[in-house]
């Protein structure tokens, strides 16, 4: 299946692209998309614990199954956590 991956902020800069197309095995989850990125951009692994994800513009989990044509977004940590 084909998925579109959207990247933001530092992830976008590290990949040098805001959008990447990927072909994944049927039955893949979000994690498979992430792992394929880490394979291409090893420095992405720094974000493996902190990254959030969304599928088709809704928050999702790494275990969320993907379907052909899905848009997967990977979101670095947001600006929260500062002194209120």
């Amino acid at each position: 299946m084909h998925v579109t991956i959207r990247l933001f902020a530092r992830l976008r800069e590290m990949a040098g692209a805001s959008e990447i197309q990927r072909t994944l095995p049927d039955g893949s989850s979000v994690r498979a998309a992430w792992d394929s990125l880490v394979g291409e951009f090893p420095e992405f692994d720094d974000y493996s614990r902190a990254v959030s994800c969304a599928v088709n513009e809704d928050y999702a989990r790494m275990t969320t199954p993907l379907n052909d044509g899905d848009e997967v977004a990977f979101l670095p940590p947001v600006s929260g956590g500062e002194v209120p």
């Binding site: 902020a9 990254v51 809704d58 928050y59 670095p76 940590p77 947001v78 929260g80 500062e82």
Partner: protein, 157 residues
């Protein structure tokens, strides 16, 4: 047509216009919060910020925050506008307006909304300071994290 109360925009923000969206005859109070670009961060002299958003998910997160706030303060009407793009020092990056018949709910919901925006809205700032640049990264964005939600509520009591 999308809900005019929740927007991500590259246009300058107008706090009066955002409050007017939620004000009504039965509201005796509107609490507003305006987030501004500060000239200093962590000892760095800030020159400007570049805000980037995943817009459709950001707007959905504002809707979610409105629903969460409505569970705690049923009387409130909330509006959230967040700016993206390059913002100079002193410019408004975010406006929250919370209207209610009485002030306690308005203050509470306004504070809750800005805390939750910082936790779960997919919006990032790229700080350009004297001598360099840095992406500001805080918490992992997870709307289902109940601890984070409790911390946001704790700021409002």
């Amino acid at each position: 047509m999308s809900d005019p109360r929740f927007r991500v925009t590259s246009d300058p923000l107008d706090v009066g216009a955002v409050s007017a969206i939620v004000s009504s005859a039965d509201c005796g109070a509107v609490a507003t919060f305006v987030g501004l670009v500060r000239n200093e961060n962590g000892g760095r002299r800030v020159l400007w910020l570049d805000y980037e958003a995943y817009e459709p998910l950001a707007v959905k997160s504002f809707v979610r925050i409105d629903e969460e706030a409505g569970e705690r303060w049923p009387s409130i009407a909330l509006a959230i506008y967040h700016r993206v793009g390059r913002l100079d020092v002193g410019e408004a990056s975010v406006v929250v307006a919370a209207a209610s018949p009485h002030r306690a709910a308005a203050f509470g919901a306004c504070r809750y909304a800005i805390e939750r925006i910082k936790q779960i809205a997919p919006i990032w700032k790229h700080e350009h300071f004297e001598g360099g640049e840095i992406w500001i990264e805080g918490a992992t964005a997870d709307p289902m994290d109940e601890d984070a939600r409790r911390m946001a509520f704790a700021q409002c009591t």
